[in-house]
Symmetry: C2
Subunit: 479 residues, 2 copies
């Protein structure tokens, strides 16, 4: 077995070098390849199949909540990007500029969309006239570009794939409800589909999206104690609507500006899946989005009847699951390692002895637990095993998040935890940006993650300045 | 009824002004909106839903034939685009160039992909080492940019959505088979899903894709006698492989270059759907890709029991079809016109009299034929009606193509047909590019469409120069 293992190239241990472990996994599990363009990645078939499963699940959730998909141009004229002051300040420094079309210099530069608020607003100004046209609940699946200096596959790339929802509403209240509804859709998706728990709440003013009145976030905790901004939902008020002159005739027959939201998640979620769930043998994928849910590995496949039975089993399971029967010439041990590296949630081993006993062996990827089950009950056993893998992965990730969540009641405690204990720090805050900046400087990078919806009252004073506290904040380092 | 009709804005008659009729339809049926960027369109929810249905159907066909999806960067460094001489000559004049990332001028210009052969080749050079790594059967769904001077929604836009398959094979024979297999997938899709017949065959050397050894095409005929290049499949030989140094160790233990194909179809197909099937009342959509397959319109919906029964009917049909029950305050006549404009294949009318008789009325969009059917048999009746609509649309389009296909045996006949009878011209050709150019000039735009797979022997000599003929060619004007 040890010898077989070597046939699948070893990866760096997670505890030895987390960053190296991460890049080893994305390469060895064949999720991405680097391209010749700085910071742009090639998403390989196995990585893209994960993204397709994510899209399918999320898209159904968006449609169920009344959203329609559309497609906007990938370019934004410079003058359009500049229409909302805060927005352009936030994005202009990191966009890619198209200056030539064919051999001709363009009269106006076009940026490759870093996000599409401005394009949606220009369109909304044309199609919204009456309260009867509201709400508009649009979403777009596309790629966006933000010129990043330091990049890492999935986590931070110059081009990435995402969805961006952009909605318009008759009242501020409805828009705020939408903002919260979509944050909840993300939270449910993380839990039910990715098996990832997270803290959710509102970003501080400093961390808000460029141009937003309020930004809500979902923040899962990675295995190494570093947080990840896993998705955001923004409430814009009517700021963009005013800047873009979007108006409608209300029920009162007067002219109003509509209220706006946007929300998005990206291929970055694949980074979260890796860093929350995976281990030293490779990927561990949540069953719901794993390209292969069940790997069937025949043992002693040259013996009569083994391949027939394996095929029969695989065919039966294929009716309800994504199944791969591997009858290649590689040894069973090599195959075990291979599908472990690929994060396949369960494998089924089936050899002559098993067939004799009308049984097979189910092995869970997350715990390595072996179950001997009757072939007659295989469908129920597989369903149960996949559910157990999902639940087990979620519980393990929750335990990790809880163990890596600390309370700081004093400035000293905050600095000590920041230095010695990677994870979330719960601490009180006065509401001033100056304190956020000071804490970030003192800790070399610990930032406010969010003000959670259910704040605890830890103490009366700000952990930084000692003035009266306004909020409890989750703090932490981030990817 | 005439009065009701006016409530849905009228469109230009197809026979009066085909181009205006086309743009009226794309706007009135809410398929697209124009954006502020020249030649870039906004695909609105109804248009995008058609594209989603097209994608779903085609993607299943690609996966069934063994292809995997991947995602490549949207940028191509100038030096990479230049690696294959013919390819860069074909595309460089029409690409958009990114010259700045944020505030910094880039050391090397990046073009926004007009097609991704070069990116795939760079990746293949890294991942193909042995014959065991072949074939590679990859596909990508993405948007591409070609800086067009004259644009028209769906037909020719500076940015458009498409899929591009890129495959690598051990032998020339296998690659050629793949090229033909994918052309057949397109042909089946056009017939079975879009209800569109077409001529298929090989492009002449002049019309070949930049860098290809052979280009195959599917050419449907629009209602007005103008052809459309509806999809292409290219055989590259090992030209790109040599330019990009892609090699593998063969079964003979020697180093070889693999053989390559690429193939693609785009949102242009939505233009074909409009121009082949639609009429003066708006869109006529093939049932397989229509966002709404059945519109249920209650008549006298304020009368007791009508809405209940309509809901019951809609719910039952929703199990297998995309159904829209319209219980808005608009009049039934307005609704009829509305769903005709949107091209919904069948509508079901249901009023108090119908309910009394346990029946409803099915109205076909393509023929306006009315069928009175028992509510008890509604599911079978809807299934049959949708199939009849599909078949009827295909037959009508086939008849149009046949009626608009002419034979030219002499140069004079060719010029006469080109001037007076819009459609395909079948005529013999010597094989020389000079004759293609001459005919194009003389006719102000009639070009070779393809050499069909089953050539007819119409005569012994080229319709242009009178020298011995090598091929029968389909000629025609194109979008």
């Amino acid at each position: 077995m040890a010898q077989q293992k070597k046939m699948v190239e070893a990866i760096t241990s997670r505890d030895v070098d987390f960053a190296k472990w991460y890049t080893d996994i994305v390469k060895k599990a064949e999720l991405v390849d680097y391209s010749g363009i700085k910071g742009c990645m090639i998403i390989r078939p196995y990585g893209y199949a994960i993204w397709e499963n994510i899209q399918k699940d999320l898209d159904a959730r968006f449609k169920k909540t009344g959203h329609e998909n559309i497609y906007m141009p990938m370019f934004i004229p410079e003058s359009l990007l500049q229409k909302e002051k805060d927005h352009v300040e936030g994005f202009a420094p990191e966009v890619a500029w198209v200056t030539y079309g064919g051999n001709e210099k363009l009269a106006e530069r076009l940026c490759v969309r870093p996000t599409s608020e401005t394009l949606f607003c220009e369109h909304y100004a044309k199609i919204i006239n009456s309260y009867r046209d509201l709400p508009k609940l649009y979403n777009q699946w596309c790629s966006v570009v933000r010129w990043e200096k330091t990049t890492r596959p999935f986590l931070r790339t110059s081009e990435f794939l995402w969805q961006e929802g952009h909605t318009m509403h008759e009242t501020a209240e409805e828009a705020k409800e939408e903002t919260m509804r979509m944050l909840q859709v993300y939270t449910d998706f993380y839990k039910e589909t990715l098996a990832i728990p997270a803290v959710t709440g509102e970003k501080t003013e400093k961390e808000r999206f460029a141009g937003a009145k309020a930004t809500y976030t979902i923040e899962p905790m990675m295995h190494n104690g570093v947080a990840l901004q896993g998705g955001t939902s923004h409430y814009f008020g009517d700021g963009f609507a005013k800047a873009f002159d979007i108006t409608f005739t209300g029920r009162d027959n007067k002219i109003h500006n509509p209220y706006q939201t946007s929300w998005g998640v990206s291929t970055r979620m694949i980074g979260a899946i890796i860093m929350v769930h995976s281990d030293d043998d490779g990927l561990v994928l949540p069953p719901k989005i794993s390209p292969i849910q069940v790997a069937v590995i025949p043992v002693a496949q040259h013996k009569p009847g083994v391949l027939d039975k394996a095929n029969e089993l695989a065919d039966k399971l294929s009716e309800n699951y994504r199944v791969k029967l591997d009858d290649s010439d590689n040894s069973p041990g090599w195959k075990f390692s291979q599908y472990e590296m690929k994060g396949v949630p369960i494998r089924i081993e089936l050899g002559p002895k098993d067939i004799e006993n009308n049984q097979c062996v189910i092995v869970r990827r997350d715990t390595r637990e072996k179950l001997f089950v009757s072939i007659d009950n295989i469908e129920k056993a597989v369903a149960d095993a996949l559910q157990s893998v999902h639940n087990g992965m979620y519980e393990k990730a929750l335990k990790n998040m809880q163990e890596k969540t600390f309370v700081a009641n004093t400035h000293e405690e905050f600095l000590d935890i920041a230095k010695n204990k990677p994870g979330f720090i719960k601490a009180m805050w006065c509401g001033e940006t100056a304190c956020e900046e000071k804490l970030k400087d003192e800790t070399n990078g610990v930032k406010s993650r969010c003000i959670p919806f259910n704040e605890e009252h830890l103490s009366d004073t700000c952990v930084c300045c000692g003035k009266p506290a306004k909020h409890m904040v989750y703090w932490g380092r981030q990817y």
